[in-house]
Assembly symmetry: C2
Homo-oligomer: 385 residues x 2
């Protein structure tokens, strides 16, 4: 069967005639776009609508800021197959017949094989002297504090945003409709849409609303997903979220620079510098509004908890004590996103009703997210051809 590409509704100027859909995917981040892609690849006859409140991927969402760091390290036995499937999709090993998305285009941030180097304060099993590690930037590390290292050669850095765009484009080419700049909430029979526009006064306004019928609704709204299903459907889930900041460390890196783990921080080479990835220690409580901290009494953009983690690493990673670290002056200066924390810590899907599903990625979506999106697509109860 050949089929025409789907319609893209990027703005309210493009008229939308409501019609029933087989599947509506609420959220065009990584998890939602991958689910839409797999569904359309499995069932090209599906009427599927992929929605997002912002662009693709949403500039405020977790996908665009995700570190894009794949490694088999820390993956337990029973998740290895998921991780390997995700790796094959990322590097373009998966053929189109298997649901692959090819490799990124020439303008995408490249996928790069790198070592992941764990820095240690002492000799441990399988460690070598830090002097034997190639590619470590000068002045980053104090080797009297971190004298040894363990090297994991299987890691990758990639762009989750680029992968997400390829997935959504694949879904649209296969016939899915895509609507951007739309707020949506699940309803018992489908979804309620509010198409957003910008007024002359630069305020965001609701241009039109639609009640849409949908056979199946996948809520893939990231950290907002659990509260969305709770408010709209009254279903309490046990997932939570955390506001993760990813400050930039301007120490020169290149394609041969390894990923570095030390003192609970991960340094991911990114566009000529590093992205500092702090540990997600625990959820942030309901009602928490992120706040910048203070360093020696001066307001900075980094939140207190992340500052503490960085302060604890200053002796071992002295570059963090220099101007190379972008602390910012207020919260908006530091790249950050609300990260879903699915119960159990791993990406997951959950059936909420006959019609509704929740799909959550979170911190480990870089490693197994694609596999879990595919599993949801397989689990969906689709009627028809």
């Amino acid at each position: 069967m050949t089929r025409r590409a789907g319609q893209v509704y990027a703005h309210v100027g493009q008229a939308f005639a409501p019609q029933p859909y087989d599947v509506v995917v609420l959220g065009a981040g990584r998890m939602g776009s991958l689910a839409a892609h797999v569904l359309m690849w499995q069932r090209p006859d599906l009427k599927l609508l992929l929605l997002d409140k912002g662009g693709l991927p949403n500039e405020e969402g977790a996908t665009i800021l995700a570190p894009g760091l794949w490694t088999m390290l820390d993956v337990p036995e029973d998740r290895r197959a998921q991780a390997d499937f995700t790796r094959r999709l990322i590097v373009g090993e998966l053929s189109v017949e298997e649901g692959g998305l090819g490799t990124g285009g020439p303008h995408d941030a490249p996928t790069v094989q790198r070592d992941l180097v764990e820095l240690l304060s002492d000799r441990e099993d399988g460690s070598v002297s830090i002097n034997e590690i190639a590619g470590l930037p000068a002045d980053l590390i104090d080797s009297t504090h971190l004298s040894h290292a363990r090297v994991h050669p299987d890691a990758l850095t990639y762009s989750p945003a680029a992968l997400t765009i390829r997935a959504a484009q694949s879904a649209v080419r296969a016939g899915a409709d895509l609507m951007l700049n739309v707020e949506a909430r699940p309803t018992p029979n489908g979804v309620y849409l509010s198409r957003l526009s910008v007024a002359n006064t630069h305020q965001i306004i609701v241009h039109e609303t639609h009640q849409l019928e949908a056979g199946q609704v996948i809520v893939a709204a990231g950290a907002a997903g659990p509260s969305l299903v709770e408010e709209a459907l009254g279903l309490v889930t046990h997932h939570s979220r955390a506001y993760r900041q990813l400050p930039r460390l301007n120490v020169p890196t290149n394609e041969r620079t390894p990923i570095i783990r030390a003192c609970g921080l991960t340094l991911r080479p990114n566009a000529g510098g590093f992205t500092v990835i702090p540990r997600v220690h625990h959820r942030d409580p309901h009602g928490y509004a992120p706040t910048g901290g203070k360093l020696s009494g001066v307001p900075v953009g980094l939140r207190r908890e992340t500052l503490e983690d960085i302060l604890a690493a200053l002796d071992a990673l002295p570059a963090l004590a220099t101007e190379a670290l972008e602390l910012g002056r207020s919260l908006i200066d530091v790249p950050a996103a609300w990260l879903a924390l699915p119960a159990g810590g791993w990406p997951m899907y959950q059936q909420l009703s006959e019609r509704h599903w929740l799909l959550l990625g979170g911190e480990k979506a870089d490693v197994v997210g694609a596999a879990v999106a595919r599993e949801l697509a397989a689990a969906l109860r689709l009627t028809g051809a």
Copy 2:
């Protein structure tokens, strides 16, 4: 040496003539009052000033709401001596010569020996059938979910607030001065005092300020302590805090009702009902303002995180699903306090400078707080006689 009792400055009408003190204790909660008591007992010649922002103990502080639950359960080997000392002080076993405070008066909430009963979903080592446990209120527990129990006979319930008042009174009788309704912050040479008063318009105003010299300053301000020393002295510590709510469960109890642990909750018999003590899972982030949650869309006073813990226990403890649980309509309806979370989890003291000390109690102050306050008193560098 006989000595006159110290002066109590309860309100700004009582004139205060600033003079140098050997020791100023900032905070008349449990930890500060106990430290003041031990110091005066050891060294009756000391000029000591005990301060509090509110009354004694402060109505907004953690002491007045502390569960007052002593048990050797969960106390590691190296803390047993601290726990035993604390128990002896609580029950009045410690003689006055050893720094004891006697037993509570007739109007104090009594200290009661009780069993602590851990309810289990299955038979485990050392467990018995739940039917063999005496004193469990009817309709509290679903014995199909919680069929077994382990009994720990060594627990006590007591009033930390009453103990605190006895400690502060003992210090004053021995010669310490006590000032209430005063805000204080440490300074390099002592403390800066702002005596508070209430204006005709019911606003709290600063009536007068004093710069006081002090040989040693003990910051015993509970959850506010770490930020106080950070702001005043620029000393960053790694302690944190959490907003703990202690909702009331109106299921009848008496002096023979055991303390109950089940599903991560502790139910402490208290004034004819139970106090529900949720687990403190983790710190609350800097800048968090407590917010009430919603239950089936209706605003309640319990925060979301505590609601989730209670929801998870509903099947096993069906009384939590009834009106016996006081959920409140907004935050102020639920008894709660900011709890210090000392790094390491146990009460501790820390020398910050030649002159300044931080004393923190937190969740385990019920069990070992008195011993740690005494250790600080012993560690203090006191000059003179």
